[in-house]
Amino acid sequence: MSVPPNSELEALRPALVRFAVLQLRNDDAAEDVVQETLIAVLEKPDNFAGQSSLRTYVTGILKHKILDAMRANRREVQFDAIIDGSDGNDRQSDADFIDALFRPDGHVADMPRRWGDPDAALEQKDFFRTLEVCLEKLPPKTARIFMMREWLEMDTADICRELQISSSNAWVMLYRARLQLRECLDLNWFGRHD
């Protein structure tokens, strides 16, 4: 297996930066981890041998670098010190967001419409762009925990240890993230592509 050409790596850069920003919510830190990732790939090209695709391989390295960056950063910024809601009360705003979707008797306020053939969406590149835009719209804390869970694929116990939050708190935030993403995809993708 030969060394991946620089041009191929450079072509991946924009996508890598977008993911790093989603996870770290800081442009400079994101550029740094992407730079470190690309350097790591170039320094040890032999490790790439036999990997499925360059993109998959590089994404794997990026995830490790992001995790390292989050751990280093944890000493500086407490997760709980980041505030999502404009009223400064995250837990209340998560609860309000969730409550607003249901009637007092626990029924859904609005019937979620059907999504046609949902699996067809997964074959469309634009769908993933829309998903990224929806991820960008999440409040920073919500986005970070959701990305840890579903993009870095960390288990909940590790996330709680990493962020110093309770598991019930993590479940509520992940739930809120999914509700908001569902709503965003419904409006911006499925509402338009029926």
Binding site: E8, A11, L12, A15, F19, S53, L54, R55, T56, T59, I98, L101, F102, D105, G106, H107, V108, M111, P112, R113, R114, W115, P118, D119, A121, L122, E123, Q124, K125, F127, F128, L131, E132, R149, E150, W151, L152, E153, T156, S167, A170, W171, L174, Y175, R178, L179, L181, R182, L185, D186
Partner: protein, 71 residues
Amino acid sequence: MSIKPTCKEVHRLTSEGLDRELSMVERARMQMHLLTCQACRNFTEQTQLLHKAMQRLSERGGRDQDKDEPQ
């Protein structure tokens, strides 16, 4: 927890089921509710799609043709 599971409970369990092992009672309550609730069936399907999409994004940053195949 009321006797009959509500949409609110089932929505929450749909999400939590992706993050932790649900108890047998929780699973039974969900199944019972899903039999008769189209809204929650739609929500479950959509949550699963979101999860699948994220897995794909996580593995390779998007759909198949997006990978670095020869031009």
